[in-house]
């Protein structure tokens, strides 16, 4: 994706919010933590369902079904019932466009 298409624009992901995008068939959740964008796979490692309806609280995304919490900056699982980290992806910002490298 080095020179690919932007998956979203910065103004589409306000600070403290998330946006779900599909990058090469992979569901990715863009998270704006105080102006900086992080990308994680949109899958809760506990039950395999999406995280995108969950609340972003600081750098933590909380799964809407069972409350598992992940640090979106590192992918680490912070509370049970999730044990495994969520996959994270490098993000580039160019000319207001958000690019995710799978």
């Amino acid at each position: 994706m080095a020179d690919g298409q932007a998956v979203a624009k910065m103004n589409e992901v306000a600070p403290g919010t998330t946006r779900r995008v599909v990058v090469d068939g992979v569901e990715v959740l863009l998270c704006n933590v105080e102006g900086r964008i992080y990308a994680v796979e949109d899958v809760c490692t506990h039950d395999g369902a999406p995280l995108d309806q969950g609340e972003l609280d600081g750098k933590c995304i909380v799964c809407p079904r069972h409350g598992a919490t992940f640090d979106v900056t590192t992918g680490a699982a912070l509370t049970l019932p999730a044990v495994l980290p969520v996959t994270t992806y490098p993000v580039r910002i160019e000319d207001d466009g958000i690019y995710v490298d799978l």
Binding site: C63, T79, L80, V83
Partner: protein, 473 residues
């Protein structure tokens, strides 16, 4: 013991000896029925809690409202719960007493009848007695205090050890885990807090006793036990409630943390009256070479939904869940166990035994999951159900999710009825039908009873015998 047996078919409610009800006249506070933001704020301010706990409660209240009721399990029984018909906070006294003599007389009588002070004198390291929403009596042996063992109610822990509570509280069971965990997180009160420092072994058990006395009350205690590296502790809890014509709700959250090489055993004997909804979330983590054991006995209640869980997070961690359930008329014991193997060379054993009689129903609902990379994980699950008559029923719903090929999984299940041959043999030795039935059922539960301290084993055998009396004839 045959002289203790009553006529077969006797009304069991007469035999529920914890069914007495005390006066509520002297209570300090009792919230109106129903749940709203003001009640949650009131609970928090009456306890003088820090801001972060109030914020936690209010967020949990939102989650409770947003979350649907479970879409599985005994839906008919669950639909009987009316959340607007419950008192969420009932405070019987001003504070927690350290001397038994200072506990108000009426409450003291209750616990005297339940045998608590006697049990403390005999064999316990510490005792906590919760009446309605708060702990009314608490004591811990001096030598344990000197070793740095912390054992107090959760309200006190939040005041006196906020740094430990904040670090671990709700990290094992987040409020969003399920609707009842969210409810507990919003209105929790009381429960036990235990911290055992590294290398300290608490040789005799710590005990807590939970008593509901108010009709239509919800009891929402919150327990957090942390065993630091290489330490060891055994915690026991018992629960009862009076006989009421309308139901009450008991919805606890219990979190256990066993650090490297530590060991926690958590024993529960629940003997609720038959219209209590007992919906409890219990979960433990065991790190490297740690051991967690849940010993869980369920008697009584209208509906119990309880699946003690162990997350084996470090190499060599070990988990064991032993549970026994008895379900009588109009009751459903939906109980089970969950074990997650998330590290190599972890081992677990799940043993579940249930008896259903007089039209009661038991369900075993269990999950064993072995994560990728948990090489050498071993698990053995055994569940046996005994059905006493044509009206009673039992279901077994085990789930196994195995993502690691280099692991060993054993599962064994059986459903049986009391054998005519067994009965014939026992009765030909001179036992009455009732005695023979009780003996066979006690034998069926023997694996469980022998894991209990003597006083509890005797009490459980007595309860089972009492429950069985109506099962004959």
């Amino acid at each position: 013991m045959a002289t203790e047996l009553k006529t077969p078919g006797a009304d069991l409610s007469e035999d529920y000896r914890h069914g007495f009800h005390d006066s509520e006249e002297s209570y300090v506070f009792k919230s109106a029925k129903g749940l709203n933001r003001e009640i949650v704020e009131r609970i928090s301010s009456m306890k003088s809690e820090p801001e972060w706990m109030l914020a936690f409660r209010l967020k949990a209240l939102e989650l409770f409202r947003a979350k649907p009721m479970p879409a599985w399990g005994d839906l008919a029984a669950l639909s009987e719960i009316d959340f607007d018909d419950i008192h969420y906070f009932v405070k019987s006294t001003e504070g927690t007493e350290k001397s038994w003599d200072d506990v108000p007389d009426d409450i003291k009588r209750t616990f005297d009848r339940l045998g608590i002070p006697e049990a403390e004198r005999k064999f316990l390291s510490g005792v906590s007695a919760q009446y309605e929403s708060e702990v009314v009596y608490h004591s811990i042996r001096e030598d344990l205090e000197k070793d740095g063992v912390l054992f107090c109610d959760m309200d006190t822990a939040l005041r006196e050890h906020p740094e430990i509570v904040k670090k671990y509280f709700a990290t094992i069971i987040p409020p969003g885990d399920n609707k009842f965990a969210a409810l507990n997180s919003a209105v929790w009160s009381g429960g036990s807090f235990v911290y055992v420092p590294p290398g300290v072994e608490v040789k005799t058990p710590l005990q807590a006793y939970f008593r509901i006395n108010t009709e239509n009350m919800g009891q929402f205690e919150r327990t957090l036990i942390i065993a630091d590296k290489g330490s060891k502790v055994h915690y026991i809890e018992g629960c009862t409630a009076p006989q009421f014509s309308t139901s009450s709700l008991h919805s606890a959250v219990v979190e256990l943390i066993a650090m490297e090489g530590a060991s926690i055993r958590y024993t529960t004997i629940q003997n609720w009256y038959r219209n209590i909804f007992n919906l409890v979330t219990k979960r433990a983590v065991a790190y490297k070479n740690a051991t967690v054991e849940w010993v869980d006995g369920n008697i009584g209640s209208r509906l119990t939904m309880k699946y003690p869980a162990i997350y084996l997070m470090g190499e060599g961690a070990r988990g064991e869940i032993l549970s026994a359930a008895f379900s009588g008329e109009g009751q459903h014991q939906d109980a089970g166990a969950k074990v997650i193997h998330a590290a190599p060379n972890t081992t677990s054993v799940v043993t579940n035994k249930s008896v259903s009689a007089h039209g009661g129903k038991t369900t075993y609902r269990g999950l064993v999951e072995i994560y990728p990379g948990a090489i050498g994980a071993k698990t053995r699950v055994k569940c046996d159900a005994l059905i006493m008559d044509e009206k009673s029923a039992s279901d077994t719903k085990p789930t196994m999710k195995i993502h690691e090929q280099q692991s060993t999984v054993e599962h064994e299940a059986s459903v049986s009825k009391i054998g005519e041959e067994q009965m014939f043999y026992a009765m030909s030795r001179g036992l009455s039908e009732a005695d023979a039935t009780a003996m066979i059922v006690n034998g069926f539960f023997d694996f469980f009873v022998k894991e209990l301290p003597m006083e509890y084993a005797v009490e459980l055998n007595r309860l089972i015998k009492m429950e069985m009396e109506g099962a004959v004839g």
